[in-house]
């Protein structure tokens, strides 16, 4: 008989893919780098300070609230970092620092930790923080854009410093101007007014491609979301091009790319099955366009994703894969 040796015993499987929450979140952070660089290029030090403020306060609030609630420390999962960056990305460049701290508090403490932390939060924390700021500090959130020199050309009254969607709603810029190629190109690159992380569609798409390549997200939500907006905008444009902006304008304006690539794809608050993701993306797209076209606000991305977050449990209940060997619906 050999000597008794005890080995560790646990349930199968005994091997693992190596995927971890930390790894996923790290990839998301990496995917946000191009947008962060774009923000600094376009908005300078303001963008850097805002992002740093939000990240530091989010991580701090995460640490503190876990500590107070006597739960394990979760700052290493990097989810608070992402919330911080996303929140900052959703703020205008001149946003007051103290308000950004308040937004971080709402995002991490109210929208996330009070629900139990990562995994239990029904709404995307950054989104909740942004909407809170938007409704509380409406002026700071939308009234005070730094004029962006590229856009102030002959077609717009020199004093306007609105975002493209703002101009569309206020009819301060002619539809023809907003939809023309050079303006669209500026919007694609990010040379427009807007929140620091939403302006550059190019940088956001680069990040999105990285996430797809790393299999952190699947194509379903972004494609369904952006596709729905494109189809909706095309239909409006075909009906009446004199009052509706072109589909490309809608794709590259406002927070659509940021929302579709980074906010709507938040795993915790979006459906788990791919069929549900499609429903979710289409819902976001429809709501966004309805708000943009008929709503009181120029932009509808945040509200749309927020509302669809609320429907996620329902979508999860309805959109299930057909179980192998079961005919019809499971």
């Amino acid at each position: 008989m050999s000597e008794e040796q005890l080995y560790s015993v646990s349930s199968s499987p005994h091997v693992h893919s190596g995927a971890s929450i930390h790894g996923i979140m790290r990839d998301v952070v990496i995917a946000m780098v191009p947008t962060f660089i774009a923000a600094i290029i376009f908005f300078g030090l303001n963008a850097l300070i805002l992002t740093a403020t939000c990240v530091i306060s989010c991580v701090f609030f995460e640490y503190l609230s876990r500590r107070i609630m006597k739960r394990n420390n979760t700052i290493n999962d990097l989810s608070a970092v992402i919330t911080g960056v996303l929140l900052a990305f959703n703020l205008p460049p001149t946003f007051p620092i103290w308000m950004a701290v308040v937004g971080s508090f709402v995002a991490i403490v109210i929208a996330k930790q009070l629900f139990g932390g990562l995994g239990y939060n029904p709404f995307n924390p950054a989104l909740a923080g942004r909407l809170f700021l938007f409704l509380s500090f409406a002026f700071a959130m939308s009234g005070d854009w730094t004029p962006w020199s590229y856009i102030n050309t002959e077609n717009i009254v020199a004093t306007t410093s609105a975002t493209p969607l703002g101009m569309l709603q206020e009819s301060t810029g002619s539809i023809a101007f907003l939809s023309n190629n050079s303006n669209i190109m500026n919007m694609f690159l990010g040379k427009v007014n807007g929140c620091i992380g939403e302006v550059s569609a190019l940088a956001l798409i680069l990040g999105g491609l990285y996430l797809l390549w790393r299999k952190v997200i699947t194509w379903h939500i972004p494609v369904a979301y952006i596709g729905t907006v494109a189809v909706f905008a095309t239909i409006l444009y075909m009906i009446d091009p004199s009052t509706n902006a072109s589909p490309l304008f809608h794709l590259f304006s406002g927070g659509l790319m940021l929302g579709a690539i980074f906010m709507a794809t938040d795993m915790v608050t979006s459906p788990t099955d791919r069929s549900g993701m499609l429903v979710f993306g289409i819902g976001c797209g429809l709501l966004t366009m309805i708000i943009r076209k008929w709503g009181a606000y120029p932009e509808g991305v945040s509200f749309s994703i927020f509302i669809m977050n609320a429907t996620t449990p329902l979508i999860n209940r309805v959109c299930k894969p057909r179980v192998f060997g079961v005919k019809g619906k499971a």
Partner: protein
């Protein structure tokens, strides 16, 4: 050409690190007869067999040790001659208590039965005689479940089997025992297939092999060609886990979905494991009972990874010593494969007819993580070959809401582990489903 590519792509599945190179090219070796064998009477699915020997008895090799105790059960024979030291309660590979017959072997060639009525003219035997030999030889599914083979080969008369699939996928990482069988004994395998074809009266048979085993594919296809055997074809499957799962394999090859809760026979198919098929060959053509099998001993924790033929009842420690011993940094000992096998607390467990592998895994090979709340990433759903929603199911299980788990078809879970393998939150998904299934099975049927 007798090589066909499987046409249908199943949902889900994963690509674990296969690490087959460890033992793949090791020719099968025979373990010298251990001095002590502890032969479990739970070698199979169903009722444990009933010992027919008692302490102090002298038994010959191949002699019956325990008889089948019911329809779903199988007899157990002595792998060697020797003296019964005792009959005790021990621990099986799954951790459940089992009855063990302790045999002190004497290494003589004192054998019973063998060669009394073997026949190379097995074609003359009636299907009933063949089935009888398979039953009396104690042949059970060697792939893992250990379902008694003669029961499987006697489908209800209203279920006509049209297609036979021999499962040579061996999709579990590390394991290479079936692969070695295919390479080293193609004649036994093919003859075994022909025997099954005759019993079931089927004309169409496929040997399913994953395309990461090109040598086996080529060798078998050439063998079939040389022997002009036309009713058996090699079917290549794309390599991923769990390509060897019965329902998934049937779908890959035939496109037929075994209904939930049903059997392969419901879609006219029967799947038999490679090792079992060779055991059938031994039972029918050589008239030898199932007393030994090939086990892959592998992992980074074993000195010399090998494929070893060992008698049933061999303590794992004997296999480990034979393969050069365990390295110092072994963390886990697994009976079977790393995806579905059982972790062992000690190396005192013994081999059975279903021990396909014995893995000694080091820290860098295994997963040891804290689990955290589900982040709804959906990876488990994307990985589940049964199209279940493991994330949701596990939430039901955690809340002990087994009824909702049942309504969401937890019983269709085959415990393949793809979900837990993929989960970034390291949730104990399979463990939850096992608990739920055990609970639901214990409930009276409504």
């Amino acid at each position: 050409m007798n090589i066909l590519k499987a046409k249908f792509k199943i949902h889900g599945g994963v690509h674990p690190k296969y690490r087959k190179e460890l033992a793949r090219d090791e020719e099968t070796k025979r373990l010298p007869l251990p001095d002590i064998l502890r032969i479990s009477t739970t070698q199979h699915l169903g009722a444990p067999s009933k010992p027919v020997v008692k302490k102090g008895d002298y038994v010959k090799k191949y002699q019956l040790l325990a008889e089948a105790a019911g329809f779903i059960s199988a007899p157990v024979h002595s792998p060697a001659s020797g003296t019964i030291k005792d009959i005790v309660t021990g621990t099986g590979a799954s951790g459940a208590p089992v009855t063990e017959i302790i045999l002190e072997t004497n290494n003589t060639s004192d054998a019973e039965l063998t060669g009394v009525y073997p026949t190379d003219e097995w074609q003359k035997l009636s299907p009933e005689t063949i089935l009888n030999r398979i039953r009396e030889a104690g042949v059970v599914g060697a792939g893992g479940a250990g379902f008694p083979t003669y029961v499987k080969l006697s489908p209800p008369p209203d279920k006509k089997i049209e297609t036979l699939i021999i499962n040579g996928a061996e999709c579990e990482p590390y394991l290479t025992a079936d692969y070695r069988l295919m390479l080293e004994h193609p004649e036994c395998l093919i003859a075994g297939i022909q025997i099954i074809c005759k019993v079931l009266n089927v004309t169409e048979a496929y040997i399913a092999i994953e395309d990461n085993k090109p040598e086996a594919i080529e060798l078998l296809s050439k063998y079939l060609e040389d022997k002009k055997i036309e009713n058996i074809k090699v079917s290549t499957l794309p390599t991923y886990y769990p390509q060897g799962a019965e329902k998934q394999q049937i779908y890959s090859i035939t496109g037929r979905e075994v209904p939930s809760g049903g059997l392969p026979a419901d879609v006219g198919v029967l799947v038999e494991n490679t090792g079992t098929t060779v055991a059938i060959y031994n039972a029918v053509i050589k008239d030898l009972p199932f007393i030994e099998r090939t086990t892959t001993v592998s992992g980074y924790g074993i000195e010399t990874p090998s494929n070893v033929i060992a008698p049933i009842g061999t303590p794992y420690q004997e296999l480990i010593d034979f393969c050069g011993g365990a390295k110092d940094d072994v963390k886990k000992i697994i009976s079977g494969g790393p995806m579905m096998g059982f972790a062992q607390a000690t190396a005192e467990t013994t081999t059975t007819k279903t021990t396909s592998g014995l893995l000694l895994l080091t820290a860098k090979e295994i997963s040891q993580f804290e689990s955290s709340p589900c982040i709804s990433c959906g990876r488990c759903i994307a990985a589940c070959p049964m199209n279940l929603m493991p994330a949701e199911l596990s939430q039901f299980c955690e809340a002990e809401d087994f009824e909702s788990a049942a309504a969401n078809r937890v019983m269709d879970c085959m415990e393949c582990g793809c979900c837990a393998f993929s989960c970034p939150a390291h949730r104990p998904l399979v463990q939850h489903f096992r608990t739920a299934k055990a609970f639901l099975r214990a409930q009276p049927k409504k």
